[in-house]
């Protein structure tokens, strides 16, 4: 695919640990917030937020490609799940 072809899209990918997977970082942040007085916090999960700028002829193609990238590289399905959004950039 030609890099300069098509519309420019910005994808935002939200990767989080699958439910049930231990999240020590989330626990540490939750406890930290509570110690600071934010006792209303019940749970915290920490994941990754990936922004990507890419070219694709249309939304459908862009969606397909980003999905593939997530499956192949960005998330490890054994422990992680993801969702993403797309907008013209």
């Amino acid at each position: 695919m030609d890099v300069n072809e098509g519309t420019r899209w910005r994808a935002e990918v939200f990767i989080s640990l699958r439910p049930g997977v231990n999240d020590p970082q989330g626990l540490a942040v939750r406890d930290g917030l509570r110690r600071l007085g934010y006792t209303e916090v019940e749970d915290v999960r920490v994941g990754r937020y990936v922004q990507m700028w890419l070219r694709a002829p249309d939304r459908k193609t862009a969606e397909e490609r980003v999905g593939l990238m997530c499956d192949q590289l960005l998330a490890n399905p054994v422990v992680e799940q993801y969702r993403f959004s797309l907008e013209p950039a």
Binding site: P24, Q25, A28, V29, G32, R35, V46
Partner: protein, 236 residues
């Protein structure tokens, strides 16, 4: 000199700091638990390396709120010498007792090695006994040591004399190859405006014995003793 070495949950360099002071310097030092709220009985404070609170979120982000940090801030305000090593440096920047921030290494990898650093500033109690330009061989061991400040602030740091250590090659030149983590301007350590609070990524406390790699770190730790002498000699 009465040295305090602060232990946070997850500190792992506290013991080495203690050994460096006791075995290397022949001075007494005491481990201080992170819940301590009064450090006034000490003459200087070391915030050691490690992974306080697992370094979760950002290195030093959670430790900064530990009860002992209010006491550290108070002693900093009072002008006592404070040294943050590695994770201690990260904690002090998160606590805004030192400028800038420490980001993930440019290599994205943890790096353990011996490096050369050049002493850029001798107005701090931790470098007062060293000649400007002195080269020191010190170990590093960190994953988040890329020092960052914005361009304008960098200028301010340089003009205020707040850059204390720089990564250099064996000839003393701050080359790109000598920079182990991508820090701006090869900065390995900085101080606050007043100069009493110093933070650095290399580990002087692991370099107190030639048998295990070198003893250049002792020159930093020994510098602070001169402050002790001044305190002792100053009229009450």
């Amino acid at each position: 000199m009465r040295f305090a070495v602060v232990t946070f949950p997850g500190s792992n360099g506290d013991h080495d700091a203690l050994m460096a002071i006791r075995l290397g310097l022949g001075h007494a030092a005491e481990l201080v638990w992170y819940t301590e709220t009064d450090l006034s009985r000490f003459d200087c404070i070391i915030i050691p390396g490690g992974f306080s609170y697992g370094d979760y979120l950002r290195a030093g982000a959670l430790a900064r709120f530990a009860p002992v940090m209010s006491a550290v801030a108070r002693e900093a305000e009072a002008g006592k010498p404070i040294l943050g090593i590695c994770n201690g440096f990260q904690i002090l920047t998160e606590a805004r007792l030192l400028p800038g921030a420490l980001l993930r290494n440019a290599s994205l990898e943890f790096v353990c090695d011996w490096v050369w650093v050049r002493v850029e500033q001798t107005r701090t109690p931790w470098t007062s006994q060293l000649a400007p330009g002195t080269l020191l061989r010190l170990p590093i061991a960190h994953g988040e040591g890329r020092y960052y400040v914005e361009a304008e602030e960098l200028v301010a740091l340089e003009t205020n004399g707040q850059v204390v250590f720089r990564y250099v090659d064996a000839d003393g030149l701050p080359t790109a190859d000598a920079n182990p983590n991508g820090s701006v301007a090869n900065i390995a350590g900085v101080c606050n405006e007043r100069g009493n609070v110093v933070g650095l990524m290399p580990h002087p406390e692991r370099a107190y014995d030639r048998f295990v790699g070198g003893d250049d770190g002792l020159r930093i730790l020994a510098s602070v003793l001169s402050v002790g002498l001044e305190v002792a000699h100053s009229p009450r």
